[in-house]
């Protein structure tokens, strides 16, 4: 049994330590906001925060997450996260929406470390998050907008 603290709730999961955190969250805990896109840390759809740092949960063993504070899209609720979600709605970022959990997790982490990111900061922080629908420029504007709101 592995103990996971997800969004300030403790879950006991019966998983081998090498199971990616993504599948523990989705299949065992049952939170499906965190998405599967590639499984090899190339698309960012599965981004969650572990102790405040964005990680690709598809490539992060659940064993290594034990005892750490995990935040998923469902648990984004402090000031910065709320501003990001608000900006996402205000600027109507999503198209299909599948990548957006991961985008929001990456954007929230960026704004936590850099409350007023430049375009270059955004390029660097968001480079690992694919959006097949092409919402990149709206994501960029929404990050700037969220920065204004905080």
């Amino acid at each position: 049994m592995i103990q996971l603290n997800i969004n300030n709730k403790v879950y006991e999961v019966d998983a081998s330590a090498d199971m990616p955190l993504l599948w523990a969250i989705r299949d065992l805990v049952g939170l499906t906001g965190t998405k599967f896109g590639c499984g090899i840390a190339q698309c960012g759809a599965c981004t969650v925060h572990v102790n405040g740092t964005p990680v690709r949960s598809c490539s992060f063993p659940v064993g290594a997450a034990a005892g750490k504070m995990i935040t998923t899209i469902e648990g984004v609720n402090e000031k910065i996260g709320e501003a990001v979600k608000k900006a996402w709605i205000e600027l109507q970022v999503p198209q299909c929406g599948y990548c957006q959990s991961g985008q929001i997790m990456s954007a929230t982490a960026l704004l936590k470390s850099k409350p007023h990111p430049t375009d270059a900061d955004i390029d660097a922080a968001m480079q690992g998050n694919l959006c097949r629908c092409g919402t990149y420029q709206r994501i960029r504007s929404a990050i700037h907008r969220a920065a204004e709101m905080i």
Binding site: G33, Y98, C133
Partner: protein, 750 residues
């Protein structure tokens, strides 16, 4: 006032049925009486309210829900289609709840996501549904108060009789309204009277998306559900020979490993059945990770197949295709295509005497363009939930055209159509890929075998290497130029694997006295299918690059030259079958010219390119501004002009156009799946390069031609011309023309 005349049987025109506990539900039947009225009426009368489908649900407490018929894959019809109903219903959009309709095409008549036709086809029917419901509610109020209907007004779901200062809610009227007969004719608002249509409205599912609510098939689960994955041959041209599952079956959490055959022997393919890998090895287990691990332990022998015949088509439209044997490669594809270019093709259109014009030409400009296979790479990989029991076949499916799967489901799963219960999950992208629902049959077969609810999941590698790809194409454009720099003839010749991309009756046909179009095709065993603006997405890139180079060769401005040709085609069209409206074409070019300050750009550091195209009934033109940084193009700005008729929801429309622009730039720069010995070489995003944040345009400005034309298409039209607008700007920035997609290969070499 616009009259909507219901030409079909009055009786089946509108289905009204009362709902337990009061309230009214209106479903709508148009186009044709595909199923008898009684069938629908019976279904709605006996079912519980929540399970019913239709367009409008009115609750006694005046809550109103509108159902969106079309599958949603990011084009935001789930907002814009209900807006059509709400406009005529006279309700407060902010108070409306929208729900996705389940698969029930007999009721909705059209549940089709593809071909940019949603708004075009729904424009009158859905407004008529709203207007009809409003009329019946007004009539119910008129009866209740015994006043003439003409004295009543409806607004915000309330009917008012001004003379007596009385009001009553739709909720209070619904039960009585449901008993009335639908009117045979209904008057629709005309364009100046819209209060909702044409206003920017937010995506009705936006607030769910940003909190990670389960909306997608991938997220669906049910008690006792198992996870399944399907292993397909490693190469096109191969099939399953044998497998040994003994090790895999010992793995933790594994329930079974077995073979499925997707299409039955002798099955005549229809609709959107595709030439998928037919025999798959399926691994079923408790969790995704366990199945992922176990599938690696299955030992499989594949073998090459012999050429075989495939039958498809419906009614009189039967087709027989020979699927060639062999393991194909990108390199041999290119060789084959160059070979075909040397031989005469099939004449698709000929105007005047092009041969003579070329013989007399002072100068001939000839350029060859090519593009590779493209995987759709929807962000959500292919998935499908199925639970087949004796009395019901439940699917939760990401599918663009559910009704097109009916035949395949019934024939290959041996269940009758009335048992199909399909929920249309929000799709994590589609782009044409999810028109081909072989995965629904696959999921159904697995559920039947397991006698359990299952969710079939493709990994990214499965998704990319078991695709329904955009074909690979090649085309050569040739222009005859006389001593006065007049272009006297155009010759276009090209083909593809396995289809050619030439639209012989589109511009520049019609603008040249002498014109010849020839095509050819090369069969393949690689699975191909529709990809956002099929064929157009390649031919526009070639044609619009060629016109740019041609304008330069004869010393003309690229926008002015296009307009000059289009004016000629408008005043004196050559040939009879020209598909485009030259005036609307000119309209987008003039608009983009103005909005981009074409002759005098504000930003002097950028290099610009232009392109325009017509497809799916709409017109699009783009101006791309780019700069080079470390040998790589950076798109600073895109100015777009669109003529798609009336724009219902400008917010969603702009988002979709932006998406098309990013999609096009990504594909022209990076897109391309390579094959070696039948194997798709790139299998995941570490090998397959997609456009990312850094390469996306810094800014996109979109303008619509203002007119009152009924909506035409929008999802696809802005996509084809962005390829060439980018290519033409890249030429200006680098001094080098690029002819072979993806351009990144040449850019990285130089």
């Amino acid at each position: 006032m616009e009259k909507s005349n219901n030409t079909q049987s009055r009786r089946s025109f509108l289905k009204v049925s009362s709902i337990t506990g009061g309230g009214m539900m209106i479903g709508f039947s148009w186009l044709a009486n595909l199923i008898p009225h009684e069938a629908i009426a019976g279904a709605t009368a006996t079912k519980d309210w929540i399970e019913l489908t239709g367009f409008i649900k009115i609750f006694p407490d005046n809550r109103i829900t509108i159902l969106s018929p079309n599958p949603e894959f990011g084009q935001n019809v789930i907002t814009s289609l209900p807006m059509l109903i709400a406009e005529e219903l006279e309700v407060d959009w902010k108070k409306i709840k929208v729900e996705q309709g389940d698969y029930d095409t007999p009721r909705f008549k059209r549940q089709f996501t593809g071909g940019s036709q949603a708004m075009r086809m729904a424009w009158k029917p859905l407004r008529t549904a709203g207007a009809t419901a409003r009329f019946m509610l007004l009539q119910a109020a008129a009866n209740e108060w015994d006043v003439p209907l003409a004295e009543l007004t409806a607004s915000n779901a309330v009917v008012t009789h001004k003379a007596s200062n009385r009001t009553i809610t739709y909720g209070a009227l619904a039960t009585a309204a449901a008993k009335l007969t639908a009117p045979a004719n209904i008057t629709l608002k005309k364009s100046g009277e819209f209060s909702l249509i044409g206003t920017p409205q937010k995506n009705v599912e936006g607030s769910k998306i940003v909190v990670g609510k389960s909306l997608f098939t991938m997220d669906y689960k049910q008690e006792g559900m198992l996870i399944a994955m399907a292993i397909h041959p490693t190469a096109f041209g191969m099939k399953l020979k044998s497998f040994d599952a003994s090790e895999a079956l010992k793995m933790p959490g594994i329930k079974d490993v077995f073979e499925i055959q997707v299409y039955k022997d002798g099955y005549v393919k229809a609709g959107f059945d595709t030439r998928t890998f037919n025999n798959l090895v399926v691994v079923v287990g408790n969790t995704t990770w366990e199945v992922m691990n176990a599938r690696k332990k299955v030992v499989i022998q594949w073998e090459s197949f012999e050429a075989y015949k495939e039958f498809s088509g419906m009614g009189n439209n039967k087709r027989e295709d020979t699927i060639p044997a062999g393991l194909e490669s990108t390199e041999s594809h290119m060789k084959q295509m160059y070979e075909m270019q040397k031989k005469p093709g099939k004449v698709l259109r000929k105007d005047g005497d092009p041969e003579a014009a070329f013989a007399k030409a002072k100068k001939i400009m000839e350029k060859t363009y090519s593009a590779p296979f493209l995987p759709h790479n929807t962000m959500e990989p292919i998935s499908c939930f199925a639970h087949i029991t004796e009395d019901k076949a439940l699917f939760v499916a990401p599918i663009q055209i559910p009704d097109m799967m009916k035949q395949s489901i019934t024939a290959n799963l041996g269940i009758t159509a009335d048992k199909i219960d399909m929920k249309l999950a929000r799709m994590g992208g589609g782009f044409g890929r999810r028109a081909y629902g072989h995965y629904i049959v696959e999921a159904g077969l697995i559920s039947q075998k397991m006698k359990a609810p299952i969710k079939l999941i493709y990994t990214r590698e499965d998704d990319m290497s078991n695709g329904v790809y955009r074909p690979s194409y090649m085309v050569t454009y040739k222009a005859a130029i006389d001593e006065n720099k007049n272009v006297t003839a155009i010759h276009v010749k090209g083909g593809g694997i396995p289809e050619n991309a030439i639209h012989e009756n589109r511009f520049p046909a019609g603008a040249f006295e002498n014109y010849l179009a020839e095509g050819w095709d090369i069969p393949t065993n690689i699975t191909i299918g529709a990809f956002r603006a099929p064929r157009s997405n390649f031919i526009a890139s070639a044609e619009q690059s060629f016109l740019d180079e041609l304008a330069e060769a004869i010393g003309k401005d690229p926008i002015d030259y296009r307009i000059e040709l289009l004016k000629k085609a408008k005043a004196n069209p050559v040939g009879k079958n020209n598909e485009y409206d030259a005036e609307r074409y000119i309209g987008v070019l003039e608009l983009v010219k103005k909005k981009s300050d074409w002759g005098n750009p504000k930003n002097k550091t950028v290099k610009r390119g232009v392109a325009a195209y017509f497809c799916h009934n709409s017109y699009a033109a783009h101006v791309v501004d780019l700069t080079m940084k470390d040998g790589q193009p950076v798109v600073q700005n895109v100015v777009s002009a669109l003529d798609c008729g009336v724009v219902v929801n400008p917010e969603g429309a702009k988002n979709m156009i932006e998406g098309a622009i990013v999609d096009g730039i990504g594909n022209v720069l990076f897109g391309g799946l390579r094959f070696e010995k039948g194997v798709p070489i790139q299998k995941n995003f570490n090998q397959y390069r997609m456009i990312r944040m850094k390469e996306a345009p810094k800014k996109i400005d979109i303008y619509f031609v203002q007119n009152n034309i009924d909506p035409t298409g929008l999802g696809e039209p802005p996509f084809p011309p962005i390829f060439a607008a980018f290519a033409n700007a890249l030429y200006k920035a680098t001094g080098k023309r690029h002819y072979h997609q993806p351009f990144i290969n040449a850019l990285n070499k130089s």
